[in-house]
Amino acid sequence: MARLQLNTLEKTYGNGFRAVHGINLDVAEGEFMVLVGPSGCAKSTTLRMIAGLEEVSGGEVRIGERIVNDLPPGKRGIAMVFQNYALYPHMKVRTNLSFGLFLQGVPKAERQKAVEEVAKILEIEPLLDRLPKQLSGGQAQRVALGRALIKKPEVFLFDEPLSNLDAKLRASMRVRITDLHRRLRAEGKPATVVYVTHDQTEAMTMGDRICVMQGGHIMQVATPKDLYNRPANLFVAGFIGSPEMNLIDGRIEGTRFVVGAQAIDLNADLMARLPVLPKQAVLGVRPQHLRLSDRGLAARITNVEFMGHEVYLHADLDGVAVTAVASAAEYDALDRSDDRICLSPDPDWLHIFDRESGLNLSLRQTD
């Protein structure tokens, strides 16, 4: 297993379109790194450059001690799992698994042993003599996983491997993959993984660290917890978390954040953290940190989504759409004849962003 480094990696297409703008990323040995972002953010392009399927226009890809820019995919010590599985349709599962070893010139007996080993780990032994078209989506994805595993690569690359599966299967495959990663680590064979997805649930649950990308730039690289609690900018704040973080435009006057005709107090700790006062400020507060109360910001309920144990309240706050999460009990206690509510933000979980630069100004500078 090896460390993977991207240094000022760039991709410019023949038509002049610049897809990746010189990104830097350092994936530690044995780390599970998730690249996440909306479609078109160049996360797949980045992965394909690591794999060698896409030419690198600038910068370098380093796997272990080697710069692999000019090596063909087969010589980079990587294995890849594709979104479409990309199993060889005319080969049985057994041959699909061992094809890579066959090309490496591994003798037949050894190949067979390796196939059985991998099949056992992924519980695909009964499928070995089937053709890909005789497999269900989940089975095919496990075979694709096995094809990567059997090569014992330095770095595993996953390109949205679960997006063709239904929700239930996706959840179980998610656990299976993280389990496998943990097991390999426990066995002293940690696997370096780069996993591309557009699904933030996958990103949050699977990654040791997450790299959020947008428009060919890296927006933030952090652990899932940090990403959620300390988003570096407006994009990450809006992208991570469900329902989305409320981003309310306004301005800071003294120690108060003013939105429309209303204002809330910002505590001293938060004020102390702001290095400068932005001209146009954005208040960020997660729906979970916006409580129903008697005091606070007055809003009008526009829609209610019942989720079982909690309720999403969509409300209109002087023309700004906000969302709050209330427990079912809190919601039941509301006076239904009146659509006016008061929302009080948790003062410890407020973020202040600069509208212009998009940066989160309220992050503690020391860490």
Partner: protein, 295 residues
């Protein structure tokens, strides 16, 4: 539901079934009669090949009154020192290298066009298409002069070498289109697995191309078998004649045409093509990459 409504529903269902059956019968009747009209010349050909020469003109029906194998026996002997077997063998001496060469060369060229980027690719592909649109006749004379200078006249080389060098633009075009419809994911997976371009072509692309390659081989087989003009231009010695020329031979050399021999040999001539077609038919229909890629 009451009994009455149940009975009514049953009666209606029965009527619907009867109507559907009648419709199907009508459809089949039309299809069979049109099919017969189209097949009749072929049926007549086979029937007439068993007639005597005089009966062919006396009896317009296809069923021979006095069936005889004379046409086949005499036709096989031909009016030359060679039997028809020689001519069949000659045909295969052209067909085999041509079909194999076409399949290999067109696959390689199509793979290049479909999967790689190289300078002037658009221009080259454009010229392939241009050649596709060019009438054959236009190139006959320059080609003849070229092959004459190469000293290839009265040999089979002019007939198969151009095709074996991907000279048939139609097949290149057909394979390129087919390849474009196959997602590149499998090939990328193979590259990640460590395959170089040739290994990818051999182990991954060719098996997926199989149905298209069978079509190419089949078309090339039939067209070559039927080709008359090519051998007529380049082959001059009778001992090198393929069947298409040999058939004409029997018309040339005898004053009164022995039609039954010609017809008998025509039947034999279409047999290989028919056999090959029916043997390969199932691959025509077979899907390609089903299952390997989820669409």
């Amino acid at each position: 539901m009451t009994d009455a409504t149940l009975t009514l529903a049953r009666v209606q269902a029965k009527r619907r079934r009867q109507k559907a059956r009648l419709g199907a019968a009508m459809r089949y009747l039309v299809l069979i009669s049109v099919g017969l009209v189209m097949l009749y010349p072929l049926i007549w050909l086979i029937g007439a090949s068993f007639k005597t020469n005089s009966e062919i003109f006396a009896n317009p029906g296809f069923w021979p009154q006095n069936a005889t194998l004379d046409g086949y026996i005499e036709g096989w002997k031909t009016s030359t020192p060679f039997s028809f077997g020689t001519f069949f063998l000659n045909s295969f001496k052209i067909i085999l290298p041509k079909v194999i060469g076409t399949a290999i060369s067109c696959t390689v060229v199509a793979y290049g066009f479909a999967r790689f980027d190289f300078p002037l690719k658009k221009l080259f592909f454009g010229s392939v298409i241009a050649i596709l649109l060019l009438p054959n006749v236009v190139t006959r004379i320059p080609q003849y002069l070229l092959f004459r200078d190469l000293g290839w006249l009265d040999s089979y080389l002019p007939l198969w070498v151009p095709s074996a060098l991907a000279g048939d633009a139609f097949f290149v075009f057909m394979l390129v289109q087919f390849l474009r419809a196959i997602p590149a994911d499998m090939e990328e997976a193979a590259r990640v697995d460590g395959a170089n371009s040739w290994q990818t072509l051999l182990f991954i692309v060719v098996p997926m191309l199989a149905p298209a390659l069978i079509s190419v081989a089949l078309f090339q087989f039939m067209w070559t078998m039927n080709d008359f003009l090519g051998p007529l231009i380049y082959v001059s010695s009778v001992d090198k004649y393929p069947v298409s020329l040999a058939l004409k031979l029997s018309i040339d050399t005898t004053e009164a045409f022995a039609w039954n021999r010609i017809l008998a040999m025509s039947v034999l001539t279409i047999l290989p093509a028919l056999i090959v077609f029916f043997a390969a038919q199932k691959y025509f229909i077979e899907g390609i990459s089903a299952g390997g890629i989820k669409g």
